[in-house]
């Protein structure tokens, strides 16, 4: 009987050799205090009751478990289901760990919240809850992401957050994390760094896993009710790994449930053309944790590329690195082209609009399902919904209409200015 869950519960920051707390000492006092607070609250049933109540009242959980009957029939193989985390308030699973961390920060008396964001979903959830709980909010976002996820920037600012575009490095998620780390170094006494995935120094990988595990717990209940058994596969896209750990955690000790993480295959296999960390398997120590990182031979962090801002990241959760080495989680990659193809199939067949990130898991399911027998049940974790991707999706899928719309809009703006 595997005991992965027990090993995670016992972890003081390491998962095998992965994890740790590789941060400057001035930050260490901040993250150590967080670890103590989390481990204390983790044992407090009152805290979990408070979080469950927030999941229901604020985010609208439980989220739907939707059989994808038309898509399954069309593909002619496995039975597909979507766990629709896009139905959460703010449109993605990110709110699960934001709620958890905001409650921890409140317990600790920390009133200044900072966060990094890639696709903007984590930043949006953070800005939303800071508004709700009356906390100061600063969001760091790579300038490239700031431009390609403009709708989320607008809403974060409307919600009262300060959004800082990071114009260093590649101007994507990694640079936002580095900028947030620098902010924490300058405000270690009063600030909570609300890390948006299962990476970073202890306790973030473990803590965010606990705040996300509600996804898999609901999938278990819903799967038993809908199918009468546990799923045979659970698929999830993997940037840092928060929605994947959330969907996988409850099944870690069920060997019959295959767990597959889908990375960003980008537009090529050369360095800088993708964000598939499990293809190169280069270990490294960066941004506070030991894991697999895309890097060059001299230990410099490598550029990454993906059509999806949320998966466009050099590192991956130390928990997933460990589960990979243990053979418990398998990894695959979906390319930008496969993801755009999946748009053409999934929206029209099922009436679902998955986020660009989540569409990577769908793209893998489209390839996997026809190879499986009809009595195989595959759950796709739809980590978020896709409205935020309007500009980037339209640019690829309706380029002529997008150009016409932008030109008309610009004309109307300049006429009325």
């Amino acid at each position: 009987m595997p005991d992965f869950k027990e090993q995670i519960a016992r972890s003081e920051g390491y998962f095998g050799e992965y994890g740790g707390a590789y941060v400057p000492e001035a930050i260490r006092a901040n993250t150590d205090a967080l670890a103590v607070a989390f481990e204390t609250l983790k044992e407090d049933p009152g805290f979990w009751a408070e979080l469950q109540q927030a999941y229901r009242e604020v985010s609208g959980r439980p989220t739907a478990f939707t059989p994808l009957r038309r898509l399954s029939t069309q593909l002619g193989g496995a039975q597909l289901y979507a766990k629709n985390e896009g139905l959460n308030h703010t449109g993605a699973h990110k709110i699960n760990h934001v709620l958890g961390q905001v409650l921890v920060a409140r317990h600790m008396g920390r009133r200044r919240i900072i966060a990094e964001t890639g696709a903007g979903q984590h930043g949006l959830a953070t800005a939303t809850l800071c508004a709700r709980y009356g906390l100061e909010c600063v969001i760091y976002m790579g300038y490239k992401d700031y431009l390609r996820q403009r709708p989320n920037v607008f809403w974060m600012e409307m919600l009262g957050a300060t959004v800082i575009p990071v114009k260093e490095g590649q101007q994507t998620l990694n640079d936002a994390v580095v900028a947030a780390m620098k902010d924490l170094l300058t405000h270690p006494l009063d600030t909570h760094y609300l890390i948006g995935t299962v990476v970073g120094p202890h306790p973030y990988p473990k803590m965010n896993t606990y705040f996300q595990k509600i996804i898999g717990e609901e999938v278990r209940t819903q799967s038993l009710a809908t199918i009468g058994q546990l799923p045979d596969y659970v698929l999830a896209c993997v940037g840092g790994g928060s929605n994947a750990m959330g969907a996988f955690y409850d099944f870690l000790d069920e060997p019959a449930v295959k767990l597959v993480g889908v990375e960003a295959g980008g537009h090529g296999t050369a360095p800088g053309e993708h964000a598939a960390r499990f293809t190169s398997l280069q270990k490294g120590i960066f941004e506070g944790y030991f894991s697999y990182f895309l890097q060059d031979d001299d230990g410099n962090i490598a550029p990454t590329a993906s059509i999806s801002a949320g998966l466009d990241y050099c590192g991956v959760s130390p928990v997933l690195a460990w589960l990979h080495d243990q053979g418990r989680v398998q990894f695959a990659a979906a390319t930008d082209a496969q993801v755009l193809d999946a748009y053409r199939t999934v929206l029209r067949t099922e009436g679902l609009v998955p986020a660009m990130e989540s569409m990577h898991a769908f793209a893998h399911a489209l390839a996997l399902a026809p190879t499986l027998s009809p009595d195989t049940h595959v759950v796709i974790n739809m980590s978020g919904r896709g409205e935020k991707d309007l500009f980037i999706a339209m640019e690829h899928l309706q380029p002529a209409q997008m150009t016409e719309f932008m030109q008309l809009k610009l004309t109307s703006l300049t006429t009325h200015a």
Binding site: A26, A29, G169, K182, L185, P188, L189, F286
Partner: protein, 241 residues
């Protein structure tokens, strides 16, 4: 008041490796007491704009750890007695090979390194320390007693204290609680205490002169060099009395 000795920082490979080596010599010849030479990294997460940009440029033109080792050996031949501290980030050392990194530095005659994101109680730090190389702890006023004990146990040759909660190159302020950390360190350790982060003028050096054994300057010197003003700035800072 006597002059406060200086530790001068620069990034190897910026603007070129040869140029950075020449600048290191200029520091030494101008009277800088300790050199802090940074092996460049793509993502220097404790550094401000000036030093980050220097790192990015040094990496972009292909400066490697191996090249830096050669440059350090070269410098050591001309300045056999000058204290030299190597600074970098954990992933550079990990990827190069912790043992190889440490042994090459020791062979060159460099015994102290600053790696701000390498905690002393990690396996990687233990591997590094077991070679005989010493870590220079980078501490701020908020260090808890129990963490400080980890560092005292290392018996370092130097302490590197952050003047305040900053990244490098920001405006200078001196944290009012830093004096208590300095007193603790003086009670338990003979190692020399340097204070850095944001120091850019002789006035700043005077402000830390009472409590520090040396002042640490990086961004201000790099900026002076970029502006063609290095000789004057070095003279001003070395003659800080």
């Amino acid at each position: 008041m006597p002059k406060l000795p200086l530790m001068g920082h620069l990034v190897l490979g910026y603007p070129t490796l040869a140029n950075s080596l020449a600048t290191a010599r200029q520091y030494a010849d101008a009277g800088v007491a300790i050199l802090e030479l940074q092996i460049p990294f793509s993502d220097p997460s404790a550094d401000g704009f000036v030093i980050s940009t220097a790192n990015h440029k040094a990496v972009a033109q292909g400066t490697t750890v191996a090249q830096c080792m050669e440059a350090l050996a070269d410098l050591r031949r001309t300045y056999p007695a000058l204290p030299v501290i190597v600074m970098t980030y954990t992933n550079k050392v990990y990827r190069y090979g912790i043992e190889a990194f440490a042994r090459q530095l020791l062979d060159i005659g460099i015994t102290d390194v600053i790696i701000p994101d390498l905690p002393p109680d990690s396996l990687q730090a233990q591997a590094l320390l077991s070679t005989g190389l010493r870590l220079v702890p980078v501490l701020a006023a908020n260090i808890p007693e129990e963490r400080l004990n980890h560092y005292l146990a290392l018996q370092p040759a130097y302490w590197y204290l952050m003047a305040d909660f900053k990244i490098t190159g920001q405006d200078f302020t001196l944290n009012p609680h830093l004096i208590q950390l300095v007193q603790k360190l003086k009670n338990y350790s003979d190692a020399r205490i340097g204070i850095g982060f944001g120091i850019s003028t002789a006035e700043h050096l005077k402000a830390i002169g009472e409590i520090a054994d040396f002042g640490i300057i990086g961004s201000a010197l790099i900026t002076a060099q970029e502006q063609g003003d290095l000789s004057r700035k070095l003279a001003e800072l070395v003659e800080n009395a």
